[in-house]
């Protein structure tokens, strides 16, 4: 690791002030950042330890929802009684990711901000527009099995690798953000991550001097919640395709269908048109096919990841069929 100054933030104010430094980065669980620092993909001059800044609580919100502190670990969230009973898709998504050791350190805020696992991004000897703007994209025409098929650009085809945020997107959760000047703002998880476009280094909407303080979940909704993750081995692997689904049936008709997709894009993918298509319709294989048509209408494979397009279609079929069966 390159040398850095280590600072410990004791309050949220401390954290925001310290991370506003030009060469500063916040560290919480560290499981992603320290990995990248060892590879010299990240070389902060100042590392701000925010673990003791005091926003790890998980608490009921006034509107019947749940407020998950940014420093709550993935484990604390997944085993929280209300997450297990009211937001099972979130518990399932977290438990499908990484290992117990990593989930014990990984935090809500850090997990939202985790970087792609693109091989070219993680190897400083390779070109990567995300890590070194203008150097090119090694994954296009390269090793691209894990890469995106939706929302890509000529600059970058990396995926957002996480599971938790896919469930948060389906749940329509909100990211709470505080800044160094004391201002606070809220961003829906669905708008938090960016597509690569011609600024692939920008992965989310956080600005310098901003700190995620919490993620808030709306009051629980009726229906079945599922998380289906397709991966190359049955544990401790990133998603090739994943789907978080919340489906409610009423009188033989789909009354609610909130779906978000992992492994397909630079962000958890959410397409409101799919909900509009499904809601009010009677379930059928033709309907699921039409939903997959919408999801994949602009999909583009890059050789090694071409398989993700039919895999996403089949996974969507399987998830909808299971959700409808479970909800009936």
């Amino acid at each position: 690791m390159r040398p850095f100054q280590y600072e410990r933030a004791r309050t949220l104010g401390d954290a925001a002030r310290l991370v506003a430094g030009a060469d500063a980065m916040a560290i919480a669980g560290g499981s992603n950042l320290l990995d990248l620092m060892k590879l010299q993909v990240e070389t902060p001059g100042e590392l701000v330890d925010i673990n003791r800044a005091g926003f790890a609580e998980i608490e009921d919100a006034d509107d019947g929802g749940l407020r998950i502190g940014a420093l709550a670990t993935n484990t604390a969230t997944a085993v929280h009684p209300r997450v297990r009973s009211d937001y099972p898709v979130l518990a399932r998504a977290i438990l499908a990711g990484a290992t117990q050791q990593l989930r014990n350190k990984a935090t809500t805020g850090g997990n939202l901000c985790q970087r792609t696992r693109c091989f070219y991004f993680m190897n400083i000897d390779q070109p990567c527009n995300k890590r070194e703007p203008g150097s090119g994209c090694g994954a296009i025409d390269g090793v691209a099995k894990l890469h995106a098929v939706l929302g890509t650009s000529d600059e970058c085809i990396a995926t957002y690798p996480g599971d938790m945020a896919v469930a948060l997107s389906a749940l329509d959760a909100t990211v709470q953000i505080a800044s160094v000047d004391g201002a606070e703002r809220s961003v829906p998880v669905r708008d938090f991550h960016c597509l690569p476009g011609d600024t692939p280094w920008r992965e989310n909407v956080l600005e310098d001097g901003e700190v995620i303080t919490a993620v808030t979940l709306p009051a629980p909704v009726a229906g079945v919640q599922l998380y289906r993750k397709v991966r190359e081995r049955s544990s401790y692997a990133f998603a090739l395709v994943s789907i978080a689904a919340i489906v409610e049936m009423r009188d033989g008709v789909i009354a609610r269908a909130d779906l978000s997709f992992g492994g397909l894009a630079h962000k958890p993918w959410h397409d409101l048109r799919i909900s509009d298509l499904l809601e009010g319709a009677a379930p059928s294989a033709q309907l699921y096919d039409a939903a997959a048509d919408l999801l994949l209408e602009d999909a583009r494979g890059y050789g090694e990841n071409d398989f993700k397009i039919p895999l996403a279609r089949r996974t969507l079929h399987a998830v909808l069929a299971q959700a409808v069966e479970d909800a009936a």
Binding site: S31, L34, T75, L95, K105
Partner: protein, 169 residues
Amino acid sequence: MGETISVNGTQRSLPDDPRITLLDFLRRDLGLTGSKKGCDHGQCGACTVIVNGIRINSCLTLAAMHEGDSVTTIEGLGTPEDPSPLQRAFVDQDGFQCGYCTPGQICSATAMLEELANDWPSDASNDLEGKIEISGEEIRERMSGNLCRCGAYANIVAAIRDAATETSA
């Protein structure tokens, strides 16, 4: 004595260089070489230790981040004369070949039995709530962060199952 950390019940001074990982601190500064450096990237689990009752990869955390914390390594779990139930079960079931991953396996499994006792669900659990039934599938999923390149998995699972049965009996 500046900032301290408790390691196997003894107070130790934290290192000055913030770059030192908890793993390097344990091995290099304290001479506790039971915890192993396999991949140094959180992928193999050979460095697993227990911090404040929770298992973590000691290679992916800085010693400086653990002021006031309480760390247990394989050296703190038992001795050849007085092994912990899991240490004894690994010997009884021949749960290793070269032994390199074993300290991490045993630290990991020690914390895992606590998680099971608290009925924390895993990806392999049919239900998120209620009592967790200990099964081979549960053990394998919960131990997926600890690789054994010799492939002693069958006996590792058997050892953990023995210790789990003994602990819950």
